[in-house]
Assembly symmetry: C2
Homo-oligomer: 330 residues x 2
């Protein structure tokens, strides 16, 4: 078998399109990253400019790896949801203002002349952790990313579960408190509105506004805009009771959400990624203990809750995993 | 092909074991019920007596259908959960007091000399509605039974989803209100504790105890023990505001639970069975409207919510469907 032929079977390009940055990589079948490209999305310059940047980034990683287009098997794109994976259309991403029903898969495929697949970023990340990270070898795995928002994806019977139209996996929009705070999705009391970084910062701002004495106010130097989940965690780490209470409450809701998933899906593994996992035990301890308290014993005793392993590469590896899966369809 | 041979491929026995009655049927591959047997469980007489009654009932339906054991392909048993489907063990059914880790599959298999499979009743019912009822032809279907308790089963990618250890599908034990009423499972604010027939009756009793004027008290002739969900529905039908409020509140929670399932599973169909569906529009209207209000549009616009079609046969047809599936493994 000629060399070029062999390489063609093994190389993929993953493009992780975010609202602020694009991460692109040349990736081998085992998840090894051969070359990378980081650049700003510059979403304000419009769709055409973003697509051109994505195509340019793909060329860069091929150059970096010393390969040409003919050696690439497929391209995968992870984009902010909601998307329609089947038609390859990004529908109405809140992080990419002005994008409506963009046929991103086709645009990248035409631009690169390579078979391209599209998946939403949370599902792509679930695939990456399952294929290359904390979930290797599992059959029933739930991936959750807890960051400014809360998203996730389900690996059921060893495969990504998409549901009827690819819209499954909206973990962050389970209602946990029917009369709870309003959520960006239009619903109330969603897990995301109670336990995300955004929810933590909102609750902290409300307490500071009420004049409740807390280190958070000092750390923010009195500017409400400086209050973030990270800052709340910092205050909690320094012993601030209010900050600890805010985090404990949020993590309790997160645990309730996870207990629900345990009762519904009976997974063997829950992998938690995203910025909030930097809190370590302050997120994992309550989640684990609430699952044991609230879920059925049969399901609770078999599930492990672990941190994600792929860090900032999860998106681009997920995009590459989407490309690898798409080979089946081509 | 000799006649006996042909019949062997087509005939199954389904045994629906409940806390109060055993329903048994001889069933053809298409779900046609050829003969039936109804009898009391008489659980108080102990395990051996119940197993003997199940075996006797199976003989009865074979006699009724004019067939002998050699013509039966397989036997399926639907039993109250929790069970371990793989090992065929009924673990700790609340409806069968004194049963702990009963190897029911083996007991029936030995008693009848026929390959036997065991599944919990909610999963069996999901299989029945998918194979013979409202869910025919669907790939992603959620079955929910709303009765004294709330249970369910998931058909995902055309197959019953069991999870890591067969414990998936505990729809009734999703937490919808973290500080809500205590549930029999040990958790608080479960869907079952908020929206089941038992929850409706409990709320009605509390209002009557508080002396709130309501037709429910009159219909119960002042005896709290007479208050049931059925009686509350009757009072609501006669225009009683309290009764209507109790039902509306319960059905709102049911709708919240269903909206969660829509966001998580993106199903094409939700099939609702169980006694509460006798209320008709009073259950289906709020559930449908809350899904539209609370779930993501992409998922909400594709899901249909329909009543179960198999009525009281759902259990025995589910047991037969379990037998049909088990053929794959034998």
């Amino acid at each position: 078998m000629p060399n070029g032929e062999k390489a063609k079977e093994d190389l993929f390009i993953g493009i992780d399109l975010g609202g602020t940055k694009i991460i692109t990589a040349l990736v081998g079948k085992t998840g090894r990253i051969i070359s990378r490209d980081y650049r700003q999305t510059e979403a304000a310059k419009g769709l055409d400019a973003v697509v051109a940047r994505m195509i340019d980034a793909a060329s860069e990683v091929m150059n970096g790896g010393g390969v040409v287009s003919a050696q690439i098997s497929a391209v995968g794109v992870a984009a902010p949801g909601p998307i329609d994976a089947k038609s390859g259309v990004v529908t109405t991403p809140p992080n990419l203002p002005g994008w409506t029903d963009v046929p991103l898969r086709q645009l990248i495929q035409d631009g690169l002349g390579l078979p391209t697949a599209l998946e939403n970023d949370a599902n792509a990340a679930a695939l990456a952790e399952h294929r290359f990270g904390a979930g290797r070898g599992t059959e029933h795995m739930i991936y959750i990313t807890a960051s400014t928002g809360i998203g996730g994806g389900f690996i059921l019977n060893g495969e990504l579960y998409g549901g009827a139209t690819g819209a499954a996996g909206e973990i962050g929009h389970m209602t946990i408190l029917p009369q709870g705070p309003h959520c960006g999705c239009g619903n109330r009391g969603c897990l995301e509105a109670l336990a995300s970084g955004t929810a933590i910062a909102r609750e902290a701002r409300e307490r500071v506004k009420c004049g409740i004495p807390t280190l958070i106010a000092d750390l923010a130097k009195g500017d409400l805009k400086h209050i973030s989940a990270k800052l709340v965690a910092q205050a909690a780490g320094q012993g601030d009771i209010e900050a600890q209470e805010i985090l404990d409450e949020a993590m309790t809701y997160l645990g309730v959400g996870m207990a629900n998933l345990v009762n519904l899906f009976n997974p063997e593994l829950i992998v938690i990624g995203g910025g909030l996992t930097n809190m370590g035990a302050r997120i994992f301890d309550p989640v684990r203990s609430i699952i044991q308290r609230r879920a059925f014993r049969a399901a609770a005793q078999v599930v492990r809750v672990v941190p994600a392993q792929l860090g900032d590469d999860v998106g681009v590896l997920g995009a590459a995993a989407v490309a690898m899966l798409s080979e089946k369809w081509n």
